[in-house]
Amino acid sequence: MREPESIPIHDLPSEAGRGSADAGPTATERGLDFLAGIVSFGAGLVVSTLDGGDEEDERTAGVAAFVAAGAGLFLEGLRAAAPMLGSIERTAGPKIGSSGAGETVGELLDHWRSSWEDRHEDDRQQAADEQLRTTFQRAVDTLLGQLDLTSLVIDHLDIQRVAAEVDIQAMVADLDMDALVGRLDMNRLLDGIDMDQLLDRIDMDRLTARIDVEALLDKVDMPAVASGVIEDLDIPQVIREATADTASEGVRDVRLRGVEADRAIRRVVDRILSRSNGDRP
């Protein structure tokens, strides 16, 4: 909203001398022009309001047309009346002008009309800016739609340079690794890994060479491990079993010969009974 300008009332008497003898527009004509400007602006406002509404039915369009036509007729009437009123003014002008009242009213009307015109100009400027912005946005959208930004970036962007500028440490420090790991499905991840191929790529010799076995063993409570193993395996029982039934060489020989004889007898019986291993009675 523009600040209202001060009306130069004190200057009016000094300009009174210019008189109405000049061929320029008289106060009455200026007043009619001003009135015509107001009517034109109001009619344009009404028409634009009716046109800009969401309801685009015929009734609204008819009202807008009617208002526009009425405003047009009124303006034409004013323009037709302006010369006639001008002549009347010129006739009675000197009498009124001698009092200085005509000049004062004319200046005031000029000031009002200029204010209205400025305001109208601002509105038109805003509308033009808005239209320009919309047009520019559409142009940019169309341009981006035509461009393949991915290939453009791949072709023209030096990723290495960009990566060199990125502070990875700071980025990693900002990451919530726990939350990140918590979202990973480790089983699916592991299913996708070819462990054989992975193991083939590992140099086990180098890996084992880097392991300090001595230090590892120092940390292990070997007596506790050994006692646990002996307890689990029941070593005394193993020794008892291995020694209790131990037979001498001669006894083993007798046993083996006995087993051989058993099988021989078995084969003979099978042959006599004409049977195989699977169909004995």
Partner: protein, 198 residues
Amino acid sequence: MNAPATGFDTVPKEARSFHGQPAGLVTRTIANVVDVVVVAGLLGVVYLGISGVLFLRRGASFSFPIVTYRTAYIVGFVGWVIYMAFGWRTNGRTYGDHLLGLRVRTMSGDRVGGVRAVIRALLCGIAPLLLVWCAFSKQQRSVQDLVVGTHVIYDWGGSRSEVPSDDAVRVGVDVAAPVPHEPDDRDTEPVPRVDRER
């Protein structure tokens, strides 16, 4: 078989191929012969002991007691039954079984109970020749076995491991599986010989 598994296969190497399989006629007959000799020896020792007591009591008038056939048979039969039943009930085998690497088990693999051991010993004493039936039996069971529900298996001592040994894993053998009574490869697999140089 006679001891809880320890994690090691403590069965002697040369017996692993037939450990747990039913024993045949020859080994069982030899075992019985050995047991007869043992029982006879024990009875002889008892006779000598009684004679020694009589000698101490009678002095110069001592003479060895005369044992009739009938008495000898009865005493020998009772001694045999006691000896065999005691061996089967306690350890699953007599001395003859031990010498030949045999063991008596029920068909479910359990230790033989007292009643079964006595009945089996009685049958063995009354009709030892019924043992011959094991040569013709499909499961190599004698008539005594069929009556009391037992069988005689090769058992040189030790036990199978519950955890497969390296050898078993290498050849794909399930050592924890029950040993079949009639393995298909019994007749074709050679019996391992004892390494005499060891």
